[in-house]
Point group: C2
Chain length 386, copies 2
């Protein structure tokens, strides 16, 4: 959705953001700037966007900013001493609101209440009223262009390098009494995670967390794994973010070092569930529909799902997928309430089955939706036995 | 400052936080929980604190939470389907505000405007008025206890391991036409950063960024370095965060691979400036005073400082230090407006001189303030020539 359409829908006459941009996907998306301290962005409905950055950042910002964005330094607005940086930004924002004659200002949902209250008070003391309305700015980022898709692919390639490192270590590990040994030492989740993370760093990514869980603990999708690793199932979920470029990848594979028939059977069910989702995904299909049909499939096999009341030993307990981009989890979703997919949406497809007594199985790829279906941005093999 | 003193000063009858806790030092401080999705914390002035977490997190949260904190899951409040997680939290917050009979609710400065507006509207529709007041919650985190200091020391040890790796690589590098070569390859800032970061990861830390800059580029303290490295000056600034424990370290050393007399002279000045700051730091002394005396010292030598109008080739261009804890930069500061230091404050001491034509020199340690002076939490040697 275009930013101006979002403004029209919400009846605001500008978008205002005040934030650093390493942890604010909205700010990074709007400016293409990586600035560690809060700065100011304003997009008036009928004017060009401007950003005001700390003096020390201004040269680099002018070089690297999004096309069409005009960059100012703080000192171009305020020369006086004796104000904190936040006070200066408040004064500058006030000036800009007056210059552009704004009345109803759209801000992201996580806009800091402190800044909003101070702004409102400033205008109240002038006997002028401004309205501040929070917008779901993530809507603007949903449809990805070709450059963005390339960056997601790059992050996914990086995730695959981490996965290859994990697979190779797991392959080379021996099993003694159900525990893994690598180079004659117990292989722990912690050690495996470090090896994966080193691979990500060598390839220009950071990683918020990595899941390297095994056995029963892998039945909790949020458990990243602790201590000596079991031989099956082994769940590796890698979600790196490009240090530069900031887009994310997301990749899960489940491995088994033994031929436990129950694990292998369930792996086939999960694999089939992913194929069922793949068959449905294309421009115009609702994310909720994909999720419902995946749930139906699992329910027919006797498993519980998020929408069913009956639970079995093993259950599907989360959504089928989520949007991915500058955030690891973003809209649209392949889950309850999931809207129509559009060409350029990038989503994960990640069915799973979780059994508190055995562990979890999940297979996850990242795909980009197109008119006839999708393109899988993931190249990593799917092979459970190693 | 105790949270209840902050409530009294601001005339609020509770503190409310709604946030995930990886990127919210306030939420982590109040709960000791690492939860990747937003959750709810409420501390009524005359009652015990409670937190409401996603159902999937409740068991781990009960194990790991701060002593005295009572944990609930969402489903203990709301059983109905059909609401998003955010809607559920809104309903729960409303219930809690009614149960505790709260009128004026204190929230952190970065509290999301979306949540605040929704809450106010809910109560307006009931013809009840609630006030939401933003507080500087970071004040509560300023004085560190012994456990916190141990964690900062641990992060600082980790930074030192990264620094040792950098120093060893630089030592083993040869200089050809002012450029560094390591193992017969050009040594770039990027390569050196990867080696440092691997060391941090092996030691349980992540790192927001690492500065490995050299030559002219090091004259910008925000420039993390790019391309082939020069032989002098070489500035390495490492600020890791413990993955578990979440406290940060901060360590800067400047190295030189040649005996350029101007660089060595300035290094001595910066070193002396740090000693001058050390001589002043103790409980009861203002951070602004330490900074002013460091500025005076540099000014007397003919250098420019942030408070002087005259500039020389080389200038001191930032504050003398900043608080460090769950955030890399937090209050109190050793700079303009810096308040009285108290026993248990942990601050960096990091004077520097920056010359756009030559590069930057900075030496940075982390110290904890006590009644008689301070304890330096940093052990890494200060030796410019390598």
């Amino acid at each position: 959705m275009d930013a101006r359409v979002l403004m029209e829908e919400n009846n605001v006459d500008a978008i205002l953001v005040f934030s650093e941009s390493y942890n604010s996907p909205n700010m990074y998306y709007l400016t293409s700037l990586l600035v560690p301290d809060p700065f100011l962005y304003i997009l008036p409905y009928d004017d060009k966007p401007i950003a005001v950055v700390p003096d020390i950042e201004v040269n680099e910002a002018r070089e690297k900013c999004k096309e069409g964005l005009k960059i100012y330094s703080i000192k171009e607005f305020i020369e006086e001493f004796g104000y904190t940086e936040k006070e200066k930004y408040l004064k500058i924002t006030k000036k800009l609101i007056q210059n552009f004659d704004l009345r109803n200002i759209g801000v992201p949902r996580d806009f800091p209440i402190f800044f909003a209250d101070k702004l409102k008070n400033e205008f109240m003391s002038l006997d002028q009223d401004i309205e501040i309305t929070s917008l779901d700015l993530s809507r603007v980022r949903e449809i990805k262009g070709s450059k963005e898709i390339k960056l997601i692919e790059k992050a996914q390639r990086c995730a695959e390098k981490g996965m290859a490192r994990a697979r190779d270590i797991l392959k080379d590990s021996s099993v003694i009494e159900n525990k893994l040994y690598y180079n004659d030492n117990l292989l722990t989740s912690e050690k495996l995670r470090i090896e994966i993370e080193i691979e990500l760093i060598k390839n220009g990514c950071t990683s918020f967390d990595i899941i390297a869980s095994s056995g029963r603990e892998s039945s909790n999708p949020h458990n990243s794994g602790k201590g000596p690793m079991n031989s099956a199932p082994i769940m590796i979920d890698i979600f790196p973010q490009l240090k530069l470029g900031r887009y994310c990848g997301d990749l899960t594979r489940t491995f088994s070092k033994n031929e436990d028939s129950e694990i292998l059977k369930r792996y086939e069910f999960v694999s089939e569930a992913q194929e069922i989702a793949f068959d449905l995904i294309k421009d115009g299909v609702k994310g909720s529909k994909v999720h419902n049909i995946v749930c139906e499939y699992f329910e027919e096999l006797g498993f519980g799902t998020p929408r069913s009341n009956s639970k079995s030993n093993a259950n599907f307990i989360h959504s089928t997928g989520h949007g991915i981009g500058l955030e690891i989890h973003e809209t649209p979703k392949l889950g309850p309430g999931g809207r129509e997919m559009k060409k350029g949406h990038v989503v994960t497809v990640e069915p799973g089955l979780y059994d508190p007594k055995v562990g979890g199985i999940r297979i996850e790829d990242v795909v980009v939706v197109n008119e006839n279906g999708f393109k899988n941005l993931t190249e990593f093999e799917k092979k459970v036995l190693i």
